[in-house]
């Protein structure tokens, strides 16, 4: 194990994959400079500009280039600098990458990774802070990954690069410089398998990406009040490890789903619906969801802080499932 930041875990994993397979290459805006978050730092020095390709600000075309290169046998690791800009690449991602294998009757495959990052908290305003993963989970043919820490950022990315189909990895900008022990060499973590981050008997909290840490903070606080929370990190949204989530709910009989994206149409609704269908009789309370309000993200620091969901909201939601009036101390 080596202590790495989330950002360094990503560049380390890409480098490891590029050493192992000459078909793996990186493309995106500013990738040879490392990008704004250093996730591709050092790669051009080791692999050269032929495999670490800077692109113009042409998200639609570079996504299409990645799809075509993948269809012709390469393994592109494409970076779309902010998930907010994925809007420009969606035709290629949704209409081409996600459907090529299916529509060709299995003749084509698109082994590409689209890395991007989302999340607020950096006073970046409403066009550089969104959490848009729910859109992606709505498209059959895409695998959607959201790593919550450095070890997962490495292990899930290793699996994504090895995957035969298109994988979107949505990183989180607030997590990039948090450190964590990461296996050396990086070990692939299977896609579609959730991690139980904390065991608990009273309430299950399913949390995505940055909200995993927030859920653990809330759980520590609640433990002092005698409430034991089980925190589950799905790690991949598609495919979703529903078995682990439902298994937990069958024991705790209570569920909270927490993400940073707006609640309205968020992935939490999908988890809530799937769990109530699979374990209706096991639920002792309505499923609670934690997410952002249905509005664009404000720039002003106090307003952004108030907008961002976090540990306090999770704590309140957990108490709500227990029928207790929350008196937040977080």
């Amino acid at each position: 194990m080596t202590d790495l930041t989330y950002a360094k875990a990503i560049s380390t994993t890409i480098a490891q994959a590029m050493r192992a397979d000459p078909d793996v290459f990186v493309l995106g805006e500013d990738v040879s400079a490392g990008g704004p978050f250093t996730t591709t730092a050092g790669l051009v020095e080791e692999f050269g500009a032929g495999r670490v390709i800077d692109t113009p600000i042409s998200e639609a075309a570079i996504c299409g280039v990645a799809v075509g290169a993948a269809q012709s046998g390469l393994r592109p690791v494409l970076e779309i600098m902010y998930v907010d800009f994925i809007t420009l690449a969606l035709d290629q991602l949704v209409n081409q990458a996600a459907k090529a294998h299916f529509m060709s009757g299995g003749q084509l495959s698109v082994p590409m990774v689209l890395r991007t990052q989302g999340g607020a908290g950096q006073r970046a305003g409403a066009q550089h802070s969104q959490s848009l993963e729910a859109w992606l989970t709505h498209v059959p043919g895409l695998t959607v990954v959201m790593p919550s820490g450095a070890a997962d950022a490495a292990g899930l990315l290793a699996s994504a690069i090895a995957s035969p189909g298109p994988v979107v990895v949505v990183e989180n900008k607030v997590l990039y410089f948090r450190r964590e022990p990461v296996p050396d060499p990086v070990e692939p973590i299977p896609l579609g398998r959730a991690a139980v981050r904390r065991a608990g008997r009273d309430v299950t909290v399913v949390a995505l990406s940055r909200m995993v840490g927030e859920a653990l903070t809330a759980a520590e606080e609640l433990a002092t009040e005698g409430v034991e929370v089980e925190v589950i990190d799905p790690r991949t949204l598609v495919p979703l490890d529903l078995d682990t989530i439902v298994g937990s709910v069958r024991r705790t009989n209570r569920l909270v789903v927490a993400h940073e994206a707006v609640l309205h149409g968020g992935f939490g609704a999908e988890v809530a619906a799937a769990v109530q269908h699979a374990a209706f009789d096991d639920l002792d309370a309505p499923v609670e969801r934690v997410g952002a309000p249905f509005q664009p993200i404000p720039l002003s620091p106090p307003l952004e802080d108030a907008y961002l969901p976090g540990a306090a909201g999770i704590r309140d939601a957990v108490l709500a499932t227990l029928g207790r009036v929350p008196t937040s101390t977080l």
Binding site: F25, G50, R51, I53, T55, P56, S58, A60, A61, I62, C63, G64, V65, A66, V67, G68, A69, A70, Q71, S72, G73, L74, P76, D91, Q92, N95, Q96, K99, A100, H101, F102, M103, S104, G105, G106, Q107, L108
Partner: protein, 320 residues
């Protein structure tokens, strides 16, 4: 007409046969669409077969070809078997794509037809990706993408021309300019009449030819292809052509003047090549009728084969 003699007669005879195969195939597709045996949105290239034939017959199986929604001709010219192509249009299990794709999403990887795309302009960067793969691997493989003049106004076109020239990719951009983007004339979409002029600032060869003069298309593409194979980068070939049918089968086609029969006799790429062959002496009098007959018989066989293929009973497990 004069250029026709510069292309080898064997080549021209092959192009004529290819055009007849496409014409016979698509006329049958139109009939089967009206009979509800062929499904989905059907866009025919009747009248524009010359471009598909002259471009694709110069390519190898390992060269990648991408097409748009009007794709049958490109697929057939690249080598897609008529029977499995017809079965795909009919949604049958034996179709090229097991009935999962249909007319606008034909794919035949074995012959390097990497696919038709139903979103206008969406295929252009895919070809760049295949060209990038060829370049990365140090091969002389090229990628070709067909698109209409309507795609040129999409942002992807300009983004792709920029990238293709920046990276000197072995990609050939073949524009079939039939003057209409769906129901609207080019003049209502842009002030730039010639697609070749749209790419004028970029360092790539661009050529505009009469797309219904097959030998001209062959000659022009041949030179651009040789450059791309030699690693000298991308090129744009604009082929001025005409689609005899509406935008899609069932289109009332009220937005443009019908071409008179005499006019069409002059423009039809098949008839033109036959006249040229007759004049130059390489096409015996009975051969056109023979080629047409052979093509129609082959299409009949393809229809019979496709009809005998069952509808898929379920989406195959490995595609779910």
């Amino acid at each position: 007409m004069t250029t026709a003699v510069t292309v080898d007669a064997r080549v021209l005879r092959d192009l004529l046969a290819t055009m007849w195969r496409i014409r016979a195939f698509e006329e049958q597709v139109g009939a089967l669409k009206r009979a509800d045996e062929v499904h989905g949105l059907i866009h025919l290239s009747i009248g524009g077969e010359g471009v598909a034939a002259a471009v694709c017959r110069q390519l190898r199986d390992d060269d990648a070809v991408y097409s748009g929604h009007r794709a049958h001709g490109h697929a057939v010219a690249k080598g897609a078997p008529l029977d499995r192509t017809m079965a795909e249009l009919m949604g049958r299990d034996g179709g090229l794509c097991q009935g999962m794709g249909g007319s606008m999403h034909l794919v035949d990887v074995a012959h390097g037809f990497l696919g038709a795309t139903g979103v206008v302009g969406g295929n252009i960067p895919l070809a760049l990706g295949s060209a990038l793969a060829a370049k990365q691997r140090g091969t002389d493989v090229v990628a070709v993408v067909f698109f209409g003049d309507g795609a040129v106004q999409a942002g992807l076109f300009t983004e792709s021309v920029n990238l293709a020239t920046l990276w000197r990719l072995p990609v050939l951009l073949v524009c079939e300019n039939n003057g209409f983007a769906e129901f609207t004339p080019r003049s209502a979409h842009t002030t730039v009449e010639r697609v070749g002029d749209v790419v004028a600032p970029y360092p790539l060869p661009r050529q505009t030819v009469d797309g219904n003069e097959v030998a001209d298309v062959w000659s022009a593409f041949s030179a651009l292809l040789a450059r791309a194979r030699a690693g000298e980068g991308p090129a744009l070939l604009e082929c001025l052509t005409h689609r005899l049918r509406g935008h899609y089968e069932g289109d009332p086609d009220r937005y443009r003047e019908a071409v008179s029969t005499e006019d069409w006799q002059r423009k039809d790429p098949i008839l033109r090549l036959q006249r040229a062959g007759h004049d130059a002496g390489w096409l015996p009098a009975g051969e056109p009728a023979e080629l047409e007959k052979r093509a129609r018989a082959e299409v009949e066989d393809a229809v019979t084969w496709a009809r005998s293929s069952p509808f898929p009973s379920a989406v195959p497990e490995e595609l779910r």
